[in-house]
Every structure is written in structure tokens, then in C-alpha cells.
């Protein structure tokens, strides 16, 4: 394979996809819109067909579920991307429902991993999923007015449908957004709204109702009751503003619900207003430890749509940046996990020491330590300076291998670490697949699924590396998978740094306004945290019609309750730490 930039029309012909239409003649029909692929399934046959897709065609991993609002056609569409954990391309299937009453059967009985994504589609688009166990808002709060991703829903600071806004370009007159809003702020109330007479249900109530309560009567007739504990959103161990409501029996977790949205920054809505190029810096701010890999997933999707190749040198630079990002992310992971276990800050200091050296390279190449904004459609924005490349060589060949050994010497055999991690937070391989776990979490449950191998993108098929995988499914396995991955990343980096050719870093002329043909594309990469996917729909205009992020931090939390049940509350902190979430990506 030379390039990931294949035309989107190539996909439906591959894999078992063709069987599907043959199996259900007259029911399942290929999506024939130009630039689109996959199959359309009528809403009433969805569960039946999806069961076949999972059980007989073998697409066991439901990667992405998202809704699209087709306002002009007065339709809502739900798009599913399913993959095989043995590798290969996606099976894309879609359901269209009328826009005024969008009701779709929930996929949760077939793939539990759909749970949060369906809640998100309900929250942001107002699509109802029948049979969903707990259909509440997930990113916004209960009681919020409207479904913001609907195309006719306008935010309070709305100016125009698409950037660049005419008020600022070309002649630059600008009115403060506050001055245009009737409430002089980022507020949007229904007309005639009276806050004093407002009656609204307590937004928390639905949450507490969804928890499984616990009461118990012992032999003497003494009633034992449950305790509700709220962790977060301000809590030192939640890695940001994540929150969990937990029901405890003594110290043991009985039931748990993650609560998110405290950092919901509306990436999707802002993305739909932005031009394709303007989105790249926003992707930086998703998983803010890994801006390079975030860029990569997005440019892959758009390159697929545009059907362009990537410059050879740029491919190498991308791989190098992705892998060094992975090392940096995993180092921080070790530090933060140890923080969560109570080894406050010392391991993290070791991690930050290496991270600073890596950030220096990012700064030299991209101009910024964290928000790199480095990848472009067709390449990378500029070449890596020679000195930075030399620093990188020193780091990869001389320094990092020793540092990993040092860290392992301090941690891997450490009694406290082993006893806190071994056998805790178990997740079986079946459950991991069914809950759409990806990345190190899935591999720690014994499923060797790594997109770099399973569905190679960029030039990963040229490198010799092993997919890190551990069968135990506990916290220790999750820790070890990351250790192995750092070593494998170093291997890839050493090969890439030896092979990197000279040449241009862009295959096309850089443009501010790229022309993206109409169609859909799903670009996904193996980010340090799991599968990071971007689902982009273009209608030929300068802005995407739909821009959706499939975030692994978000979906990997589906199994949180499963893993925590029966464990101690202190272990909850470690289990959460081992998922490796980043709030920017979780809440988007």
C-alpha cells in the first residue's frame, strides 16, 4: 500500500459488505448518493439486520454511532461504523427517519458500546432510541432548551451559518457578539421566559434515579442502606472535570454512573461553522496531550474526501510525530496513574522531564508546545528543522530506551504497585469488544486489535513492530500494555528516522480554502488512547455539513461501571486512571 488516500467509493466493494444486500434483497440497499458508501436499512429492520451483521458477518466492534441532520430533505440519519476485530475495513450502515419524529431502535442490546453515543445523539440531535436503558442527556444538562446540533438551532452568538463571516472578511468590520445578542451575553432564552416562575425538574434527579439503589436487612432486622458518593467534577483524581455518582455498600461499589459534559466545548457545532482548514487547530484541543495524533485523524478523513496523496517525507514526519506523541502520552499516563495510586507526584516528575524534551521538538517543528496545528491536507505545514531532528535522534536512540528501563525498574516489580493493580478492574475480552473499547484498554483484555495493523493508514505497513497485547484484563495488564507500547513506538521511531527521505512536505499547493468534493469519509487512527475517528460529511461547500468526533476517552467509559462493580472505592480511582481519559476529548 502506498497511501491511505483512496477515493471513498472504493470501500463498499470490500469485505463481506456485498453479502448484506444479497441477504436482504429489497430491504438493505446500497447508499447511492455520490461520494457516500455503505448501506441503508429501514428503521423497522435495523435490529434484525444488525444482529446478522454482528453474529454472521463478524463485525463485532461497533466503532461509531452518530446522527446527521439533513434539514433540506427533512430527514435524520443515524450512521453506524462497524469493524471486525480481526481487521479490515468498515461496514457502514445507516438508518433514515423523518425529522419531526426521529425514532430509531437502540443498538445497546447488540453492542453495549452504543450506549453513550446514542445518548449523545439524543442530547445533541434529539433522536430517540427505543429500548435504550438510560436515555438521558449526556453532555448538556437535563432541562437545557433544544437540541443544539440540529441545523435550525442557532446558538446565542450566532452570526452566520458559515465562516469566514462577511462582517469580518474582507473588510473587517466587527461587532462584538455580546452586542448582537438580546441578553448581551452567551444566553438564549425562549421568548416570554420568566425565571421567577420557572419550574424545572432537578437535573440531578434523573441521574440519581438511574443508579441502582441498595438496601439490605441483616439477620437482626437492622436495615443497611446505600451511600451515594459524588466524585467530581472538582476532585483531584478525576483528571479534570469528570464526575461520577457512586452507590456504595460500605466501601464496595454497587452502582456507578459517569457524568460528563463539564468540558463540553461544542466542537461539532463550531466545526460545522468553520471551514475545513479552520478545524485543524480545534482538533488540537480535543486530547490536549496529543495534538499531533488528533490532527492526523482529521486530515486523513478530509484527504479521503479530496482523494489526494500525501507527500512521502510528510508521511514519515507524521509517523514520527504520532509515535513520539504516543510515548509522551504514555509517560504521563504512568505518572498520573501512580498519582492516583497515592505515589503523589514523584513518578509524574520523571514523566514531565521527558515530556519537556519532546515538547521542545514539537515547538521547533510546529511553533507551539502543546497546540501544534501541524498537519495539513496533503502533508505537514513545514519541515522539521534539522536540529530538532537531531534532538529527536538523540532522544530516540540514546535517551528514551534507558529511561523506560529506569522507570520499569522503579515501578513494574514494585510490591505496592503490583498489589494495587493485579486482579483489579477485570474486563473480559468479550465485554471489552461489546462495549466498543479500543486502544490499550482492548489490548489489555487480550484482543490484539491495533488500527495500525488491523486497517493500516499512513505508512504503518512499512514498519516492523509488535502489537502490544496482554491477556489478563486487569489494571496490571493495562499498565504493561502501555510499557510495551512505548518500547514498540521507540522501535518504529528508530526505523522511521533511519528511512526518512528528503523531499517536499506537501503534495499539493497549500490553500486557505480547500475544495472538498461532496461525500462522506471516516478517518480513524490509533491514537494513544484508542480509536480516534472523524466522521466528516461535505456537501461541496467550504464548510463541512457534519463533523463528528469519535472519541475513545468517551466510549471507553462505557465499561467503567462493569469494571468497578464489587471493587473498593479507592480502586475506582485507579480503574479510572487506567482508562486514560482526557476531558477535552471526552466531552468535546
Amino acid at each position: 500500500m502506498t497511501t491511505p488516500a483512496s477515493t471513498p467509493t472504493l470501500r463498499p466493494a470490500q469485505g463481506d459488505a456485498s453479502d448484506l444486500a444479497a441477504r436482504f434483497p429489497g430491504v438493505v440497499s446500497p447508499d447511492t448518493r455520490p461520494g457516500f458508501s455503505g448501506f441503508t436499512i429501514p428503521a423497522d429492520k435495523l435490529v434484525e439486520v444488525a444482529t446478522i451483521i454482528r453474529d454472521e458477518l463478524g463485525y463485532d466492534l461497533l466503532s461509531s454511532v452518530t446522527g446527521v441532520d439533513y434539514l433540506p430533505e427533512n430527514k435524520m440519519e443515524v450512521v453506524y461504523h462497524a469493524y471486525k476485530t480481526t481487521g479490515g475495513p468498515a461496514l457502514v450502515f445507516k438508518v433514515q427517519v423523518p425529522r419531526d419524529n426521529p425514532v430509531v431502535a437502540s443498538m445497546t442490546p447488540i453492542w453495549k458500546g452504543a450506549e453513550f453515543q446514542e445518548r449523545e445523539a439524543w442530547d445533541l440531535l434529539g433522536i430517540k432510541f427505543t429500548g435504550h436503558p438510560d436515555l438521558r442527556r449526556i453532555l448538556m444538562w437535563e432541562g437545557f432548551e433544544g437540541h443544539p446540533l440540529r441545523k435550525d438551532w442557532k446558538e446565542a452568538f450566532y452570526e452566520e451559518d458559515a465562516k469566514p463571516f462577511k462582517s469580518r472578511w474582507p473588510d473587517g468590520k466587527h461587532v462584538l457578539a455580546e452586542a448582537r445578542n438580546p441578553f448581551s451575553d452567551n444566553l438564549r432564552f425562549p421568548s416570554g421566559f420568566d425565571p421567577e416562575k420557572m419550574t424545572f425538574a432537578d437535573p440531578e434527579e434523573a441521574l440519581y434515579r438511574s443508579l441502582k439503589k441498595y438496601t439490605f436487612e441483616d439477620a437482626d432486622g437492622i436495615q443497611a442502606d446505600h451511600i451515594i458518593v459524588n466524585l467530581g467534577p472538582q476532585h483531584p483524581s478525576t483528571h479534570g472535570v469528570f464526575r461520577s455518582a457512586v452507590i456504595l455498600d460500605g466501601e464496595t461499589v454497587v452502582s456507578l454512573k459517569p457524568v460528563m459534559g463539564y468540558l463540553h466545548r461544542n466542537h461539532d457545532k463550531i466545526g460545522e461553522r468553520n471551514t475545513f482548514l479552520q478545524i485543524i487547530p480545534y482538533t488540537d484541543r480535543l486530547d490536549y496531550f496529543c495534538s499531533m495524533t488528533n490532527n492526523h485523524g482529521y486530515v486523513l478523513a478530509v484527504e479521503k474526501l479530496m482523494g489526494i496523496q500525501v507527500a512521502e517525507r510528510a508521511e514519515y514526519i507524521r509517523v514520527i510525530m504520532d509515535e513520539i506523541t504516543r510515548i509522551q502520552n504514555h509517560l504521563i499516563f504512568f505518572g498520573m496513574l501512580l498519582n492516583d495510586l497515592g505515589a503523589m507526584y514523584t513518578p509524574a516528575l520523571y514523566a514531565f522531564e521527558e515530556r519537556e524534551l519532546i515538547l521542545d521538538i514539537f515547538e521547533a517543528a510546529a511553533g507551539s508546545r502543546m497546540m501544534c496545528n501541524y498537519y495539513r491536507f496533503g502533508g505537514v505545514v513545514r519541515d522539521v528543522p534539522a536540529e530538532a531532528l537531531q534532538k529527536l535522534r538523540d532522544l530516540v536512540f540514546d535517551r528514551l530506551p534507558g529511561k523506560i528501563d529506569e522507570m520499569e525498574r522503579l515501578l513494574t516489580e514494585n510490591d505496592v504497585l503490583v498489589s494495587r493493580l493485579k486482579g483489579v478492574g477485570y474486563l473480559s475480552a468479550e465485554d471489552a469488544i461489546n462495549t466498543s473499547m479500543t486502544g490499550p484498554m482492548l489490548r489489555a483484555s487480550g484482543v490484539p486489535y491495533d488500527i495500525r495493523r488491523a486497517d493500516p493508514y499512513s505508512i504503518y505497513d512499512r514498519f516492523d513492530f509488535k502489537v502490544a497485547c496482554r491477556p489478563d484484563g486487569d489494571l496490571y495488564a493495562r499498565y504493561m500494555v502501555r510499557v510495551d507500547e512505548v518500547r514498540e513506538s521507540i522501535k518504529i521511531l528508530q526505523q522511521a528516522l533511519k528511512q526518512i527521505p528528503e523531499g517536499p512536505t506537501m503534495s499539493v499547493k497549500p490553500q486557505y480554502q480547500v475544495r472538498v468534493p461532496a461525500g462522506e469519509a471516516y478517518g480513524r487512527i490509533e491514537s494513544p488512547k484508542g480509536e480516534l475517528g472523524y466522521y466528516v460529511i461535505s456537501n461541496g461547500k467550504p464548510n463541512p455539513w457534519r463533523y463528528h468526533i469519535r472519541a475513545s476517552s468517551f466510549i471507553n467509559l462505557t465499561a467503567l461501571e462493569m469494571m468497578c462493580k464489587g471493587e473498593k472505592i479507592a480502586d475506582f480511582v485507579a480503574i479510572l486512571g487506567a482508562i486514560d481519559i482526557v476531558l477535552g476529548e471526552l466531552d468535546r
Binding site: L139, M140, W141, G143, F144, E145, G146, R150, W153, K154, E155, A156, F157, Y158, E159, A177, E178, R180, N181, P182, F183, D185, N186, L187, R188, F189, S191, G192, F193, D194, P195, E196, F200, P233, Q234, H235, P236, G240, G261, Y262, L263, H264, R265, N266, K269, I270, R273, P281, Y282, R285, Y288, F289, A348, L349, F352, E353, E356, M370, M371, L583
Partner: protein
């Protein structure tokens, strides 16, 4: 440190036999010196900027040089709230509560574009366009994210601000309620600032009488 020397210069003559034996200083100087050298920030990160805040605390930039490395997870022990990241409407009630729980003297530092003004996410429907709409910000640090050096600069500015204060004038020793408590915002159809209820009511009534397309769905 420059300030340590000036601490012993009260501005009047010290008898020779007492030099280097006792310390004579102005009360304000001693008071401010003590406080500026032990500003404990709240361990509180909202988004990307928080990572740079942690980097500032780690070995390369080493906040400990300023006596500020003791990040406190509880607001009860914190003197400084570094608002490091995007303030969302959903999070705001929690932030205001945290602020209300911090004892005086307390300061707010808005770190980054988001905390100062909404930054790149200003147009977002869940984003508060700047924490200064609710909390009294002392220092703004620009950047997206500000580098650790920029944050350090902001903290030095805060120290300078503390140096200007006088024990006779500071608000926490005046009579009256102990702190500047801020009413906790309510999450309704949108974020409701309790201080603005009459205003919101009037504006919404106005909207009802005139068809306004911009805020209708």
C-alpha cells in the same frame, strides 16, 4: 530575593547596636511578604491550560521557587484560584461554589484565552465568555495555552499586587460580611445568573412582543 532585603528597611534610622540583631520593619511589609511567598493555588484544572499549569509546577519551571507549589485539592486551604481552561455553563455553578468556599484573602488568575474571554470556543453554546463575568479576576494571562513562563509572569504580577496591599485597607478585615460571596448560577433552559433575573425577565418579555428571529429555534 529583592523583597527580603527591603523587608528590613522600614524607612527610618536604626540604632547601630541594633543592626543585624533585631528586625525592624513595617507591618504591611511583613504581612505582604508572608502572604506573597506562600500563595497556595487550588488544584483545579478545567482544560488544556491546566496541563501547562502542571508543567509550570514540574521540575523545569518549578513553581516552588515562589512558594506556590502546594496545590490544594480543597478550596478551604487555597488562596488562589487559577482558572486554567474553558469555563462551561455546566461547570460554572461548581466553580462559583468553589470560589465561595475559599477563605479570604483570595485571588483569581484567569489563565488563557478561554478563561479570559471564551477564547477559541467563545461562540459555543455551552461556553461562558470569560470567568470575569462571575468572579473578580485579579490577573489575566493571555495565550492559548500560555506557556509556563507566561504563567510565572502572571504569578509574579500577582505578587506585586499583593505587595501593594495594606493591612488597614484590605477587604477581609473590614466590618461586614466576611467575603464577597457570589450567588450560584442556576441551570435552566440556559444559564441563569441570579443577579440578572429581572433583567432576563424584561428582555424575554420584550422578545415575546417583538418577533426576534435570532433567538428562536
Amino acid at each position: 530575593m529583592e523583597n527580603k532585603e527591603s523587608l528590613n528597611l522600614p524607612g527610618y534610622e536604626i540604632p547601630d547596636e541594633l543592626k543585624n540583631v533585631v528586625s525592624v520593619t513595617a507591618l504591611d511589609r511583613l504581612y505582604n511578604w508572608g502572604r506573597r511567598s506562600s500563595v497556595w493555588p487550588l488544584m483545579f484544572g478545567l482544560a488544556c491550560c491546566a496541563i501547562e499549569m502542571i508543567a509550570a509546577q514540574a521540575s523545569r519551571y518549578d513553581l516552588a521557587r515562589f512558594g506556590m507549589e502546594v496545590m490544594r485539592p480543597t478550596p478551604r486551604q487555597a488562596d488562589l484560584m487559577i482558572v486554567a481552561g474553558t469555563v462551561t455553563k455546566k461547570m460554572l455553578p461548581a466553580i462559583v461554589r468553589l470560589w465561595n468556599q475559599m477563605p479570604e484573602p483570595k485571588y483569581v488568575l484567569a489563565m488563557g484565552a478561554c478563561a479570559s474571554s471564551g477564547g477559541p470556543f467563545k461562540e459555543g453554546y455551552n461556553v461562558v465568555a470569560g470567568i470575569d463575568k462571575f468572579l473578580p479576576v485579579d490577573i489575566y494571562v493571555p495565550g492559548c495555552p500560555p506557556t509556563p513562563q507566561a504563567l510565572l509572569n502572571g504569578l509574579i504580577l500577582l505578587q506585586k499586587k499583593i505587595d501593594q496591599e495594606s493591612i488597614r485597607k484590605v477587604r477581609w478585615y473590614r466590618k461586614g460580611p466576611d467575603s464577597v460571596e457570589i450567588p450560584v448560577p442556576i441551570l435552566g433552559p440556559d444559564l441563569i445568573d441570579p443577579r440578572r433575573i429581572p433583567d432576563i425577565k424584561a428582555k424575554a418579555a420584550e422578545l415575546a412582543s417583538t418577533p426576534a428571529p435570532a433567538t428562536q429555534s
